[in-house]
Symmetry: C2
Subunit: 491 residues, 2 copies
């Protein structure tokens, strides 16, 4: 064996910085040094360790200290002690493979380790789905959080109610009634981590959830939701959409339908009054249920938003909402407003205790809503996003008058309709110019027989205020030229 225990002991001694207080410290330091030596391969598997007495003398520590340290490392599995063969480094205590230790941290190639999850930050971020992260109301939120933590009864820090804190459910009952026309009561609200968590609770695993598929969905919608449902074994059936929203008269034998009634996602129209009525009638006649994704219901710029569909029939509509668009996706807080008959099964799906949403954040949001900070923030953001949308429309009118902005003046994104066949090249041009945004094709249900639409989904809320002008300019630069659509078609 190349390494004698004497060498090993010397190395261990060298590793030890024995300027420690008391024998407890020395024992701990010796354990750490021995463990480190085994880990990094200086003490190879199979190496026999020096007898207690020798190492103790070398290091100037008590024999018991060495005996204790060996025993500890035997207990942990680093060393083995067998009658007659002394104490040896365990065969299994191999060091980490070198290629793993040398592996660079993820993301390191494209910037600092603290880079955001997206591998390479785009120059202009116009992806839909997030509010302006620079506008988070830090001071007001901190004030609510401080009040919540200081005033919380002790039981808050124990296991939580899976329905969510009553303070938050009460605040939401009042808020949603006032702002969205929702009719509910605190005992019909269940707090969750966001919209996707709500869907998971409803559809469960392998079809064992509160609701069963197939689920009718709008032919244009979030692929992420379809994927999540697919993973849960739920088939989604696309409903065509037209200028009046989803064609709910096409509902077949499905027992559930997922809609975005206030502002069709992503194409942007509200569900027409007759269709609102028709889908409630369908649900009543068939024993069905409507899932209302109220993802941006607070943000309407030209008029008061249409009230939630849920208000029409609280027994036939499940409303799902969250703070992800209104405040920040960093909080991971959402809610489900449930018909009476689903409350118990959703709670059962959630588990005996709150396993998801931070209880302190729940209390903080309750304070934030009931103190009026939430209204103030939404009002401020409504103005900001409205101005963003106006600037987008103005920029297009000036630089690309052939490009139409579809949908109502609402939300955090707009859809720019493109001439047929130009979406892919526009996306390529955008990528080339460092403009991150999505095309309509990515939102299209793969099974729909609706004719495909070409368009760009522009998340005008995403950039910070100072970055928006440049992003708009870059966007205008990548749009397809107007000649293509203006050319005479009769030639």
């Amino acid at each position: 064996m190349a390494r004698s225990w004497v060498n090993s002991a010397e190395r261990i001694g060298a590793d030890l910085h024995l300027e420690l207080s008391g024998s407890g410290g020395r024992r701990a330091a010796l354990i750490d040094a021995l463990r480190a030596a085994v880990r990094d391969g200086r003490l190879a598997p199979g190496t026999r360790l020096p007898p207690y007495r020798s190492l103790a003398a070398d290091l100037g520590v008590a024999r018991n200290t060495v005996a204790d340290a060996y025993a500890e490392l035997v207990a942990e599995g680093w060393l083995t002690a067998r009658q007659g063969s002394g104490t040896r480094v365990a065969e299994r205590a191999r060091p980490l493979r070198s290629e793993q230790r040398a592996r660079p941290p993820r993301h390191a190639g494209n910037g600092p380790v603290t880079a955001p999850p997206r591998a390479r930050a785009p120059r202009h971020d116009l992806r839909q789905g997030t509010p302006d992260a620079s506008a988070f109301p830090r001071a007001a939120w901190l004030a609510s959080y401080r009040r919540a933590v200081q005033q919380a009864p002790n039981e808050v820090f124990g296991p939580g109610d899976p329905a969510g804190r009553i303070e938050l459910r009460e605040a939401l009952t009042e808020y949603l009634a006032r702002v969205r026309g929702v009719r509910t009561a605190p005992d019909r609200i269940v707090i969750c981590s966001g919209f996707a968590h709500g869907l998971r609770l409803l559809f469960g695993q392998g079809g064992g959830g509160v609701l069963r598929g197939p689920l009718a969905v709008e032919a244009y919608g979030l692929g992420f939701h379809r994927a999540l449902l697919g993973a849960a074994g739920v088939r989604t059936v696309p409903l065509p959409i037209d200028e009046h929203g989803a064609c709910v008269e096409g509902l077949g034998r499905e027992r559930a339908v997922l809609l975005t009634p206030a502002h069709q996602f992503p194409t942007g129209g509200p569900l027409h009054a007759e269709r609102r009525a028709a889908v409630i009638d369908w649900a009543r006649a068939r024993g069905g249920v409507v899932l209302e994704d109220d993802y941006d219901g607070e943000f309407r710029y030209d008029r008061k938003p249409v009230g939630a569909l849920q208000g029409l029939d609280p027994e036939r509509v499940i409303l799902l909402g969250s703070v992800s668009k209104s405040l920040s996706p960093a909080l991971r807080l959402g809610w489900m407003v449930l018909p009476e008959r689903y409350v118990d099964s959703v709670l059962a799906a959630k588990g005996e205790r709150e396993a998801w949403a931070s209880v302190l954040d729940q209390l903080s949001l309750a304070d934030f809503v009931s103190s009026g900070s939430y209204d103030r923030h939404v009002r401020r953001m409504r103005q900001r996003y409205r101005s963003r949308r106006d600037r987008l429309v103005a920029a297009l009118a000036a630089h690309a008058p052939h490009i139409e902005v579809t949908g109502v003046a609402a939300g955090l994104h707009a859809v720019l309709r493109l001439p047929p066949g130009t979406e892919r090249s526009a996306l390529k041009a955008a990528a080339w110019q460092g403009v991150a945004l999505d095309g309509l094709a990515g939102f299209r249900h793969p099974e729909t027989d609706m004719p495909a639409r070409d368009g760009l989904v522009v998340g005008y809320a995403t950039p910070s205020e100072h970055a928006y002008g440049a992003a708009l300019e870059a966007l205008c630069g990548v749009l397809p030229p107007g000649e293509a659509t203006e050319a005479p078609t009769g030639g």
Copy 2:
């Protein structure tokens, strides 16, 4: 029709508190009043509404205000407007069924609506699983939270990295290495909402997860974990346990095993050094993986805790930990320390963006750990729980010397071994006396052929400091008398 529109209009007028500013306010108030009247049945389905002009005159508002309000409610679906039949209350706009409106809020029967989730708070709560909720370090946590929110870069408030914030993964890498002997790197840690979320990420839905069943588990463990795995389609195979912990030599064709090596849950012994070694050998030979549930690794009272099994082979052990025992289950923060080869698939299971753990809480915990507050808190709680355990042992020695406390001096709970056949009656007596605690039987895997053990699982950390003495006294009062075991068995 019993109700003429004149009556209706008068009622609507009575509902309106027209001390409002501007016509926008009047319009909104009129909409709210009309909606409310439809909702609560004062305006019955089918009722014809007064013409614009009449209602406008009755209420003293502009005709356009009434027209706008009707249009709004038609758009929302409360009213219908058909050529020739005027504006009517929609047939579908039925009020909430009265029995639902009369339904009392949940929990209301047993106390205030803000009562904790457990239906009836026990007089003495000795259930395992939670730290002393009265000891949450509010001031220190708030200080960390404030620093985190104030210093966070803007991107924190956008979509989060599903791996978790790098600041927290770095802090945990250092902390777990120092305190638990864990060998890892920030890019191998994935943040989650707690242990159960970690299990869900690993086993996914319907067997489609990162790992596949069957999963070997300890014959005594949390029924909640078995149920969660069962719901995900994962069969659990019980490993018997003895005084050296789980009998890992009995591992069969399973490819994964879930262990509590530091402190078998709930029976209380650490996994013996030879078994620590053996299970690593098994994992290497079979290509298997060990899931290490390090649920209370920081709390050992008689000596330094045995290091994590993970340190022995970071490529064969997944360590799962959380702050639920050390700080509070209200935070919903946990972590998975992963072998290299599982990182990408766990991240894929988690999704493209952080959908679970509050990003602000993550940053706050990172600050709490790296500022030393976490160490200070754990140290304080270690002393408190140690004294709780000592008082339990002393109380038993004085009042029930025939009852043995099993396992090592560690953790937040102890198991009191009971004479065979006495567990059920002891639990009954406890319930009668208002002492909430669990029996060992509830933790036993239904398929194990291990002989059943009688015992009580006492969560001595759960009560607040001032309530503990009375809880102990009550506990001693419900234990089976000593005569039963001391009686001669030869008779």
